[in-house]
Subunit: 557 residues, 2 copies
């Protein structure tokens, strides 16, 4: 076996508790090195010879590596362990000191004590979650009385510009809850709804006020209450990496300069504050003067936004927060945020916007999950553009799963697209069959499927602002077959615990033919899916021993 | 190059800020793969082509891997980066997505924003620190009036049992501060001094009271004040993984059972609480009934001990805390501990007792460093028992350095032995020349040397309790030459900034001859050390190009 490929750490996604008496262990080895991997473990104060043995199972493979996993039960919460790795050439010990032929030289990895703060629980409902993302200005205009002064016509031909308004609002969402129920989603994520001059509202003027073009506190309460009655939950978007130019504290700094008691709430480079030729304060991205960056490491700022986060949970009964630009905010704040939010509502979900490897934020002390753009990257390349084959697709998915603990994987927002990307159908070059296959995959993969409003109606669009067109509601504008597919897949997902709570195993990979198969398994249920991402009709021979019992082959669609 | 050996993560000791505009990056590759390693980096919102380039330098090698390091300067605190790795066979890109020939496929690693809580600063004085560990019951009896009822004779023949008392106390330490000053140390670490029935006092009865056999609050204040006047600092031992049986809260639980308001302060399995045949509550290690484990995840318990930690800093002016059994206590508590302690005294040092890989605790949010038992393991095997050669020794040291950020390395308590191990001289089988060489290494390595009381006097002893013999004070009992060596080495360490603040580079490794050489370098200063751990006189040819200028060879001893 290749020693340089062997990897483990007694922390992070490599060793983490499932509960106070149970530790999940992950090991990496070279792809194709056929290793029997055993784990010897004991209480860390016990002597040599007291170890129990656990066999690890190969659970995933990426381009370079195989991954093995297993579970250590422990009565005392104090664990030491060492791997014994065997291949046809012989065996070796892998412990804290490295890889050795001699057990004692290898030493033991230590998980010294499973503490309360090592635990990572996601809300139980998240396992069954299906997300629907709404950009409220563009979903439905339920109250023309609160429309902005100039709204553009809401029709299929609408091509929004960066500053267009169409009049969508919270009453519109209330009006269409039955539509969402019919579709089969159960978690509605709204992009920002607090007072702001823009249509996207990522530049907040007042974090304690619903934008008047969207409604007011009562409208939000009605929305949440009605959603709850229908068995759906509602999440809001917390934009606290930066505020809007109109935020009271920034306005105070503009007025009072260095004397403002809010001067330290931002990163001001010099006074007086100017916006031109470039802002002399830190902003979101580069020089976006409308979005001054907030100093979330400042205790007063942190306190302000912790209060805000709690307020909307308690006042409006929301079920969680999506966190904008989450990886540019102080992790210390997020730790406090999690404590405050989960105290206010232990069932609240916290999902960060991170487009990249999100390991550091998914240790159980910050977020429950992230918007899974790594999932989207793989799905885009396999289904939409067909740049990669089934083997690379499988490897990319495996690699992204192996970054995280199991808990986070089940809570992932698995998206095909969002308000920040081109529409998936557009990425497919309009080829609906490609999108249909991708949706089938999305609805049967590990984690929460996230539908961007209108995808189910066949909406297309280039990236922002074109991906934010007003929702198609007229029957004749909509793709009814696609909607039926979404409905059917979500019904199957509801029927099969394995699709919601099961593990994931690669089943069949044929890059030449474009065939990819996988299994989702619980103890009582098993679903196998075979995708033909190549062309025409193909015949495959399947190994069914991984099913608990002889499977019935059928096409529930 | 071997792709499976390449490793980097945009977190931990692999990517960490030195300040808000500077990121230190580490990469691992296969040992001996002669790679030119370049880093392309830019603001994460800038486009392709905006990258600057940094060359990484090979800084360490362990058994399997070479390590490369470099520094990324950033004006905006938002960093994306990708490695370009080149060997004679060609080049490849290494980014978040993996290793590819195509730059775009590799993607970029992201250090999205250098936040306040990513920063890790150790007190500046720690770079110059030399620690002296005192077991107060055995150091010096300065006040026979406070002796326990039965003390054993304090002489060279003393062989302590687990429950022996000798009468050492805080007044004794005050009396001998001039001795410590003469030796050349500047940080005194006392094992526990709070009220407890044992001689070691790791079973605390009262965290707010100095043990009456050691003195009282005034004695401690005198000790700290006098030490400060002499330019020395004082650290105490925080034993809060567990309390003593006599601790008021545990006594209340014994008395009131489940009704005690302290019932949740411990891990009680059932009521009433019993100690026999085995305790029905969690304890330190296995069934040590005198040491009930504290529930440090409980907010009230945490608050109690945070107050305690602050109290001794404010009341007695101590300079830091050593944390007993630190890896079995909730990390969440340690995060709060660091904030509270550093607020009370920004110059306070926090050092955990962890015998193993301590990476998770040295991210800047918990400890400044640990008692470096990985250092001791390597030094024991190379100098004391000669089980390993210079090559393995060098690899072990490198591996242990590469676990941590640079800041933690400079604050390490590099020990040869402690109150929990056999004496180093005993491990050497009494061969003083082996110990002398180990001490030379300890005094010139990266991090704080920690001297266990009496080592400098030539004391020996098997493991606990034999390593806790009363200190030898009579001139005729002491090894004067060893003391002189310690003095001389500490003087050289004071004279050379490179030995205190310089980096570390392996210089010469000859396992057959037993020769090991290394360099310590700052911009202005460079010290090279060549150790002959073989036999007799040996001749070596040295490469001196790593010195800034032509070196003068001399033996300052």
């Amino acid at each position: 076996m290749l020693k340089e490929a062997i990897y483990h750490r007694p922390e992070g996604a490599w060793a983490y508790p499932l509960d106070v008496n149970c530790l999940r262990i992950r090991l990496r080895a070279k792809r194709g090195d056929r290793i029997r991997c055993r784990l010897l473990h004991a209480d860390r104060y016990s002597g040599e010879g007291d170890e129990s043995i656990v066999d690890l199972e190969k659970t995933a493979t990426d381009t370079l590596f195989d991954y093995y996993e297993g579970v250590i039960p422990t009565a005392t919460r104090r664990v030491r362990y060492v791997f014994y790795l065997e291949d046809p050439m012989g065996g070796c010990w892998y412990g804290e000191k490295g890889i050795f032929n001699n057990r004692r030289e290898a030493g033991d990895f230590q998980f010294a004590y499973i503490c309360h703060s090592h635990l990572f629980e996601i809300p139980d409902w998240a396992y069954d979650g299906v997300v629907y993302q709404i950009f409220p200005e563009r979903f439905y205009n339920g109250d023309p009385g609160n429309d902005p002064a100039e709204v553009e016509p809401w029709n299929k031909g609408a091509r929004p510009k960066a500053n267009s308004f169409y009049g969508g609002d919270l009453q519109g969402i209330i009006d269409q809850l039955s539509y969402l129920k019919e579709l089969g989603v159960n978690l509605i994520y709204l992009t920002p709804i607090f007072k702001s001059p823009s249509n996207h509202k990522y530049d907040t003027t007042d974090y304690y006020r619903i934008d008047p073009h969207f409604g007011d506190l009562d409208t939000l309460k009605k929305l949440v209450d009605k959603a709850h009655r229908l068995g759906m939950r509602v999440m809001l978007d917390a934009v606290i990496n930066h505020a809007g130019y109109g935020f009271f504290a920034f306005q105070d700094v503009l007025k009072n300069g260095a004397d403002s008691k809010y001067a330290d709430w931002f990163y001001i480079q010099e006074f007086p504050v100017v916006t031109e030729p470039v802002p002399n304060y830190e902003t979101f991205a580069n020089d976006v003067w409308t979005m001054p960056k907030l100093n979330m490491s400042h205790p007063e700022v942190a306190a302000y936004f912790l209060d805000m986060a709690e307020y909307w949970i308690k006042e409006a009964g929301i079920d969680g927060w999506r966190l904008d630009v989450a990886n540019e905010v102080d992790p210390d704040f997020w730790r406090a945020f999690r404590k405050r939010v989960k105290k206010a509502n232990p069932d609240a979900l916290i999902v960060g916007e991170i487009w990249h490897d999100s390991g550091p934020w998914l240790q159980g002390d910050q977020f429950d999950s992230v918007m899974n753009y790594l999932f989207r990257d793989a799905v885009m390349q396999f289904f939409a553009t067909r740049e990669i084959g089934a083997d690379v697709f499988d490897a990319q998915l495996a690699k992204s799963r192996m970054l995280y603990r199991e808990q986070a994987l089940y809570a992932m927002f698995n998206l095909l697209d969002s308000h920040d990307t081109e529409r998936f159908l557009t990425a497919c070059g309009g080829r609906e069959e490609r999108m249909r296959l991708a949706v089938l995959f999305q609805m049967t993969y590990l984690g929460m499927p996230m539908i961007y409003y209108g995808d189910e109606a066949g909406m297309d669009g280039e990236t922002d602002p074109d991906c934010r067109r007003p929702m198609l509601w007229r029957e004749s504008d909509r793709n009814g077959e696609l909607f039926t597919l979404y409905q059917a897949l979500l019904r199957i997902r509801r029927q099969h615990p394995a699709l919601r709570r099961g593990d994931y195993r690669t089943w069949y990979v044929d890059p030449a033919a474009g065939i990819y198969g996988y299994l989702r398994r619980t103890e009582e249920d098993c679903v196998g899916v075979i995708l033909n991402n190549g062309g025409g009709t193909q015949t495959v021979s399947l190994d069914t021993h991984l099913f608990g019992e002889a499977p019935r082959l059928h096409d529930p669609l």
